[in-house]
């Protein structure tokens, strides 16, 4: 009976939900230049971001459920351990049913980078890059770059001041930011496409003077703006992850090139 219930829910979702890649779900972000905490090269932290599209909210449980129905190889129990760990979708009641712990409008968590990447590819999209994510996350509700404001930082630090075992609320529970994007802060950590570009040493006090042998090339890039702890903690989090890891507070959203940019 339960299996049938799950299938019925799935069918209802399939019938009721418009396909995600409608323009309404993607938000257009005009490109620009900004100072990143991860500079491109030593001392030069001005980064250019081209126009792009990004989901206005993180991917929800309902949307991910649709995905695993279309791609059963990504269902819990079927996905191979190369691409996921043993906590993959562990908050769901079953491989194709959400259950009471996982509301359909909550962001999906306990998903690995591979799973997130596969979802975005299925939607003819991709994961955002770190710079794209940092760019939209710099905004508060009325300014594109609010990172210098103490309130912006304190707001984010307050999220870290709450324990992570509490239930995660639905997407869109907080107001949208300047770009009309929701939930870049205060809800979940998010995967980015180049999460493994951070050669942040596990011991985060060692910045600069990198071990030449461990980090080929110019050496590990130092992080600028060390007072911008709110963003640095994102970097620290991503650099602790491997692509197959899942965690309770880690989800994702998808992005796509803008019409005006080449691709």
């Amino acid at each position: 009976m339960r299996i049938f219930g799950g299938v019925f829910t799935a069918l209802a979702l399939l019938a009721g939900f418009a396909q995600h890649s409608e323009a309404g779900d993607f938000v257009h972000i005009p490109g620009g230049e900004f100072k990143s905490v991860i500079p491109e090269a030593e001392g030069d932290n001005l980064v250019a971001v081209a126009d792009f599209l990004v989901y206005e909210t993180p991917v929800t449980n309902a949307e991910f459920l649709r995905f695993v129905l279309h791609r059963p190889e990504w269902q819990r129990g079927k996905a191979v351990s190369l691409f996921i760990d043993d906590q993959y979708l562990s908050t769901w009641a079953g491989p194709i049913s959400l259950g009471p712990q996982s509301g359909p409008q909550q962001p999906v968590t306990q998903v690995s980078w591979f799973a997130a990447n596969a979802y975005c590819e299925w939607q003819s999209a991709r994961l955002p890059s770190w710079y794209e994510w940092e760019y939209i996350a710099a905004a508060n509700d009325n300014t594109a770059d609010a990172r210098a404001f103490p309130e912006w930082r304190q707001d984010i630090l307050s999220w870290y001041s709450q324990v992570g075992g509490d239930p995660i609320v639905d997407v869109r529970s907080s107001p949208a930011n300047y770009y009309q994007v929701f939930d870049t802060h205060g809800l979940i950590w998010e995967w980015v496409d180049d999460f493994n570009a951070f050669l942040v040493n596990g011991d985060n006090r060692e910045q600069g003077g990198a071990d030449q042998l461990q980090f080929c090339g110019a050496g590990a890039i130092t992080m600028e703006e060390k007072e911008n702890y709110a963003v640095l903690m994102r970097v620290a989090m991503l650099s602790a992850l491997e692509a197959r890891y899942t965690t309770r507070n880690l989800g994702f959203r998808c992005a796509r090139q803008g019409e005006n940019s080449s691709e």
Binding site: Y160, S161, G164, N201, G202, D203, N204, M237, A240, R248
Partner: protein
């Protein structure tokens, strides 16, 4: 005994004549022998038992990181990041030369990745590079404890200051091969400060304040992670005649501690947690990220108050603990009458709270009598005001004005409320004498507490006046401004 090895000889030139303990070279005792041992980990103020082994072993440390909401002060909660579920983290005890296999587990509920830097480790980052762990995962690394001593460990994930400020520190003791001389009692005391958005004792859940941390403007300075951790029922205990050893740590993140036990002198201080000791020390410095080991005999019964002698931290930020000594009086050593509660600052002994809560209840229903308020006020006064104004209300000649028969006090009870709330600086004339001191604001006391204290003061030592009501205090609190830095 190597630990108490040759001390610098008091020669005229002051030149030390010491043999050393061999440093890290003395810790390379070869491969571990015997079966692996699971380390006994304890929470402060308890310490694991002495190692009592004569060979180097493999010791497995199983440490879990948890992010938890706990009380930092009565009615105030904070999200602590902890090693082993407590602040400070669990105490680890090994022997020089041991190989430690360290398992760091980050609970799945954690939001943050964490790692660990043990100051006892010789190797990159003190272990931090090898122990970086995402939530829901475990990292394992091994190290050999080459140097003996008492070492701090802490989380070193960016931003390090925030992880430490949230309570991620503890102590690891690497015993010298022959062990430490036995004592009757050993305790684990670790100081740390906390930075909250709200003011000291402002009720509710308080988030971390990064700006205050950068400015080193601590809201709380505490022993063992909360204001009540070593006070009243939680005091550490000893008996007259005991030899006591304190393993003292300071997690910081910023402040250095001036560690002192009121009513005791440290017979020995192994300063900085190292292998040499100083003798007959009153107050010793414990660096942020450092430690000290103090040893002393307790000879008289009573309550010894443990403080950071940067004294405003003890009275206004919570850096206060207690060591209760039970046993027979030794009048030859100390003949004075012991008074509990003297240095409590604003904190009151647990057994006295019932008077206060009874009166508070009565006040709400409007039925509190003056006698009840005076009784409650006496307890509170003894816990707070008597430090300066003395139990007999006489103050201190030339320094603190008297309250007994005070014309200043009697003249204007509304002004009295203002002085308690907002403090008083500058010259005042009381009973014909001028005093020019500074009284700090006591606005962290609530309306009931201030009303009871003033009712007591106005009706003791020959004073007589009407009771002061909570409503009166509330009205003054709303109508006047608190000075910079005071609680609301």
């Amino acid at each position: 005994m190597l630990f108490a090895a040759c001390q610098p000889q008091p020669t005229g030139s002051g030149k030390a004549n010491q043999t050393d303990t061999g440093g890290s070279a003395a810790g390379d005792l070869g491969l571990p022998q015997g079966d692996p041992i699971l380390a006994v980990l304890t929470s402060a103020p308890d310490v694991p038992p002495p190692v009592r082994r004569d060979y180097a072993a493999k010791v497995i440390v199983d440490m879990e990181v948890r992010e938890l909401d706990m009380e930092i002060s009565e009615g105030v909660t904070y999200t602590f990041w902890t090693f082993g579920g407590t602040v400070p983290g669990s105490f680890i005890r090994v022997r020089q030369g041991d190989t430690v296999e360290f398992h760091l587990k980050n609970h799945p509920d954690s939001k943050m990745p964490h790692n660990i830097d043990l100051h006892a480790v010789t190797g990159p980052g003190g272990g931090a590079t090898s122990s970086f762990t995402a939530p829901g995962h475990e990292a394992v690394f091994s190290f050999k404890a080459l140097n003996q001593g008492l070492f701090v460990y802490h989380c070193a994930t960016a931003p390090v200051g925030m992880h430490v400020a949230n309570g991620m520190y503890g102590l690891i003791l690497v015993e010298p091969p022959q062990g430490l001389p036995p004592v009757d009692k050993e305790f684990y005391v670790m100081q740390g400060e906390f930075y909250t958005v709200g003011k000291y004792r402002e009720k509710g859940h308080q988030p971390f304040d990064m700006q205050k941390a950068i400015e080193e403007n601590a809201t709380y300075v505490l022993f063992n992670g909360s204001e009540g951790a070593m006070v009243g029922e939680n005091a550490i205990k000893a008996k007259v005649g005991d030899s006591v050893r304190l393993f003292v740590g300071n997690g910081g993140p910023n402040l250095v501690s001036s560690f002192h036990v009121i009513g005791e002198i440290f017979d020995k201080v192994f300063y900085e947690g190292g292998s040499r000791y100083q003798e007959n020390v009153q107050t010793t410095l414990v660096p942020a990220g450092g430690s000290a080991m103090t040893e002393f005999l307790v000879e008289v019964p009573g309550t010894l108050i443990i403080v950071d002698h940067s004294i405003f931290r003890a009275f206004n930020k919570g850096a206060l603990g207690m060591l209760k000594v039970d046993g027979d009086e030794n009048l030859l050593v100390y003949s004075g009458k012991e008074v509990d509660n003297v240095y409590l600052g604003d904190k009151v002994m647990a057994e006295d709270l019932s008077i206060i809560s009874d009166v508070t209840q009565a006040e709400i229903t409007g039925s509190a009598t003056k006698e009840q308020k005076v009784s409650a006020g006496r307890v509170l006064y003894n816990g707070t005001c008597s430090v300066c104004h003395q139990q007999n209300g006489e103050g201190l000649e030339g320094v603190f004005p008297p309250l007994a028969h005070s014309d200043y006090l009697a003249a204007d009870s509304r002004r009295a409320i203002e002085v308690v709330l907002n403090g008083l600086a500058g010259p005042v004339t009381v009973n014909g004498k001028t005093y020019n001191s500074v009284m700090p604001p006591m606005s962290q006391l609530n309306d009931d507490e201030i009303a009871n204290i003033l009712t007591f003061a106005l009706n003791s030592w020959g004073n007589e006046a009407d009771a002061v009501r909570s409503g009166d205090v509330a009205e003054v609190r709303a109508a006047t401004e608190r000075p910079e830095g005071a609680a609301h």
